[in-house]
Symmetry: D2
Subunit: 350 residues, 4 copies
């Protein structure tokens, strides 16, 4: 009963097999391995983007920060949701990698930026000329930190507003696969066709050991990105072990299958929770996370039996009246079993 995060789950067997195969013999380091050539070709095909440049790193924070640093100058600001990972969960990595850019925080329900709020934020930037920071980049998280998704049309609306102001668009796709399979669109439709310039294409939360691809749909800044990656200590010498993960991920649609499993687990979990008297969802369940509330006694029972998850917000206590409602974040991964879910539901329902 592990729902603390999707990064607590295992890597997929197909990925582990690929790691073993990649370990044969010698290979040129730093991305000059033949597996990377194949993985790059796969990504270009999957995204219908033959010109795109593709780089691998091992953490989502590295992917996001390097991507943003390539898009903005230190004296510019990045527009993102107040709860975006780049704002709340990266210890200021974007500020570090960009050389001190600001993040302009936009509020919105269910983890999503309303178009009007983005328009206002961008329009107001630069009103005091040289005295204030300048318009930089837009960063959209999809799926969001609240477990919801932006449709291609919604992405296009936001990136379109940005584009009018010459502001490029980054997508934090740590859970891109989860969003994609929910939406049923193509990778191209959810990214460059919707105005995304750079994608952090997540793998770690969806069955890899630790690989994210950064996809530059416009390769103009590719060499700059490579230098930033190296300078940040994110260029791997034994790169074949990253390449192998990405190749396995994209082979035979494994990445989509894994995401479908995680999403289905979240759906099952949410449906079960809603059967509990007094329970409710805090956000629609559109990816692999469930934000839900139910009576304290259920929390006590589950946690007493070893279930792992976070109260959301954190500071709600197990101490107090049985029937008081406590809210939580529950994240499923590709390996979350029906048995685990059902045991958990049983515990919180009694």
């Amino acid at each position: 009963m592990f729902f603390a995060s999707d990064n607590g789950g295992p890597a997929a067997p197909e990925v582990m097999d690929a790691m073993m195969r990649a370990n044969e013999g010698t290979a040129m380091p730093y991305g000059a391995d033949p597996i990377m050539d194949r993985a790059r070709a796969q990504i270009r095909e999957v995204f219908q983007a033959p010109e795109a440049e593709v780089y691998l790193v091992a953490t989502g924070t590295a992917a996001n920060s390097l991507a943003l640093a390539t898009l903005v100058q230190p004296w510019q600001t990045i527009y993102c949701h107040r709860h975006a990972h780049i704002e709340a969960d990266e210890c200021g990595a974007p500020e570090f990698y960009t050389g001190g850019s600001k993040l302009t925080l936009i509020d919105g329900a269910d983890g999503k930026m309303p178009a009007a709020a983005l328009e206002t934020a961008i329009s107001e930037t630069g009103a005091v000329g040289v005295h204030g920071v300048q318009k930089g980049a837009l960063s959209i998280t999809n799926a969001t930190e609240s477990g919801t998704v932006y449709s291609p049309a919604e992405v296009a609306e936001l990136s379109g507003i940005a584009k009018v102001h010459s502001v490029p668009t980054h997508m934090d796709g740590a859970r891109f696969a989860n969003a994609l399979v929910r939406l049923g669109c193509t990778p191209a439709e959810l990214t460059w066709k919707a105005g995304v310039d750079i994608l952090s294409f997540g793998g770690t939360k969806n069955g890899l050991l630790g690989v994210e691809a950064v996809i530059l749909f416009n390769p103009d800044h590719a060499w700059e990105f490579e230098l930033r990656r190296k300078r940040g200590g994110h260029l791997f010498s034994k790169h074949r072990f990253l390449s192998a993960q990405m190749e396995a991920y994209l082979t035979d649609g494994l990445w989509l299958d894994l995401a479908r499993k995680a999403n289905a687990a979240a759906d099952r979990l949410a449906a079960g929770i809603l059967q509990i008297p007094g329970a409710s969802l805090m956000h629609p369940v559109e990816a692999n996370a469930v934000f839900a509330s139910w009576p304290r006694k259920g929390h006590r029972a589950a946690q007493g039996a070893g279930a792992k998850y976070y109260h959301w917000p954190f500071d709600q206590s197990l101490e107090g009246p049985d029937d008081e409602i406590i809210s939580a974040r529950l994240v499923c991964n590709w390996a979350t079993s029906d048995a685990d879910i059902d045991q958990f539901l049983q515990l919180i329902s009694d």
Copy 2:
């Protein structure tokens, strides 16, 4: 016949097995996995340093840069050999992580800093008060970039000079194991007993997929290091896959066995090269790298047969008189076979 770098070799089977075992079930992320607890305990025991704090990252550049950033202020300088990896091969990562520290470059034969040169460099720093940068940290690479080693006494002499000036000592131990087994001393003798404050303890070049430990013998700045690691994007969510590598590395002395194999391969290679008329060594062979020179025709033969290695310096051409001497760097790894070496020697000798 792959001698381009030790990072082109495979991971050890014991390490791959550990990766597979680590993939069972769920685990708390970000270093809170039980394997990390065991690996930390192993390192403390191996280094006789029960107070040391230990953190894992995946690249040597990350290990070095984060360690140095923890030791120096932006307005201070780092003393290192002119050919140190942190100067020559990290694209300015130390400058990036420290916020713009200088590197004061010290010349010396065989990749080693002479004590007198270090003393002069440190003494001269700060002579113009606030107008110049200040004394920062010493960084010693062991084994060196020239394939030589510093003995515990030599390390102690350098760190002692630094200490007089309140300058702490970092050791870049990307090839620490190779130095250690050559010297036959204990890990403690080569590090904290010789005045080293922080060690980048390499694993990637010696049989891991990609893990380096940063060992803070003085844990005062441990929390700062953790924040810097996260902010740099080097804190892994599925951390157990780093932990597992390190645990396997230290179990039953695997790390020492692997280093012995690589060193022995270099010895065999060097001995064979010296049989060639006109051949010579550029540096003593004290770790797993051979810097040697031999006639051009031997280079042509070897490279024609697919041997991989770098001319050293790079800009020497295969075009020219047969008997002209060309120099090269040849790096062995734990898996370099005698057969490969002998084939190579045969080719360059004919």
Copy 3:
């Protein structure tokens, strides 16, 4: 009729005289001039702070940024009002000087941070441990950007909240004199006795050519500050010309007289505006700035006659119905004459 900013006014004659006197003969550079010794002693006496360290720079942005960089680490956040100069008017200088700290923005009426909002903001910082930025420093602007002031008790309340969390307090006193003379307290009462650790003590807006003192009530980080100042390019070689301004400023209470004149001008202006039908104040007038609203026709008349000031917010147009209310910011300086004010009032009243 210049109300665009207090930085558009002239320097006081006493200050210009001091500049002329300082130009005699030679002087040791970089703050080693005897005038600086006297100015430092004056500040220590005025602030009843014999241990304080005092440094001069030439711009408020330099003073604030260097002070904050001395107080916070790159991975920490600075708490300030959303309209603080450090957030809105310094093009990200705090982020640049700190190496990428965040600014946590606090909303509040009349440019002032409510204590409860500060408490919430600080308490929430660090809830996600290493994943989020850490508690850094509090920055209070006094007088505020809205022309209001914090009393010593209000400052003490805010700094007290901060102190509970080990968060030090910076005061942006670009208009410190204006606040002080309004409050009628001592400099010590408004600063270190109220918990302020570092003060940006403004002079430029109050009759100097361009000098701000940074006063470190706790001198522990004095040498770090000196290095940061030099490294930022803010250590003046012909420093005597900064020293001379500060000495003149503090001699015979000139600084207080100048501030009283500016405040009195603002009072006169505000009182006059309130006589206009439909006019109102946006904020209480507690320093030398008036934020007021009156009918558009008055704006047209004044600007047609050459009056200089900013609509507040900027985007209000002179085009439109005569009687529509337009708001503005009017800033007085020590040299603003009654004649100018009365002419202006006449124009906007007709």
Copy 4:
């Protein structure tokens, strides 16, 4: 007898007069004052550069660092002489402003970079691809830190080498006027006609209170420079006091007259020193500084009588045999009097 530095001398009376005149009435801040319009026009005319953009700052360190930051990326290196001010006397300000660029130090006699050494340094940069820093900018100091000058032909040779590698050229002209009047060429000939892209045009050491102009002969990066200046805290609100200095400096050739006076003083000083038995010059005297050696007893006499200057290197002691030779740096400024020089010569000659 003040020869410690040219920054210890007074400002020229014409400049002080201009400051007084500039203090009349109100003026728009931040460079929007009419005096700046005139000063900019003067510079464009003096340099025959009608397209150039011109910005004022108050320190040489600010001018150099902002100029270099505009020319290089953080992962690039700056080529300069080992004794350049940007390397030795700015506490790492270039590293701070550029975000961590390296400085590649070039040795050469008399403070000048030999063309061949520059060619080698640039050619070697980037040999290891993404692993090493990249080619950035060339910075030439003229007059040099050793009191010598580069001719237009020498500047053109260096900048030409750089240009072949797409490396732009910065000139640190803290003593530009001193070089120019010695060479007898035009400002254009010594700068853009010789391949200089950005000039730090010094005033502070040559009779101003504290103003340096940054001249961008290619205005493409002008807006970036403005943002960097503001973000660095170097945009002055009461900018008219900088403008006024620069206008006075350029009016009626004042700047050239002041430099001629300082150079003539250095010539007189050098000629006198060479009359002393055992005395010699360390470098040719081509600007306003004299690097010379003479017996210790003369140093004792001069310093005993209050003469101010630095031993060069610093660590030579007044204690020791009378006839031992001690070397020194003596810097003249526009106000250095013949009487002072002659008194000094008398003291060191006896």
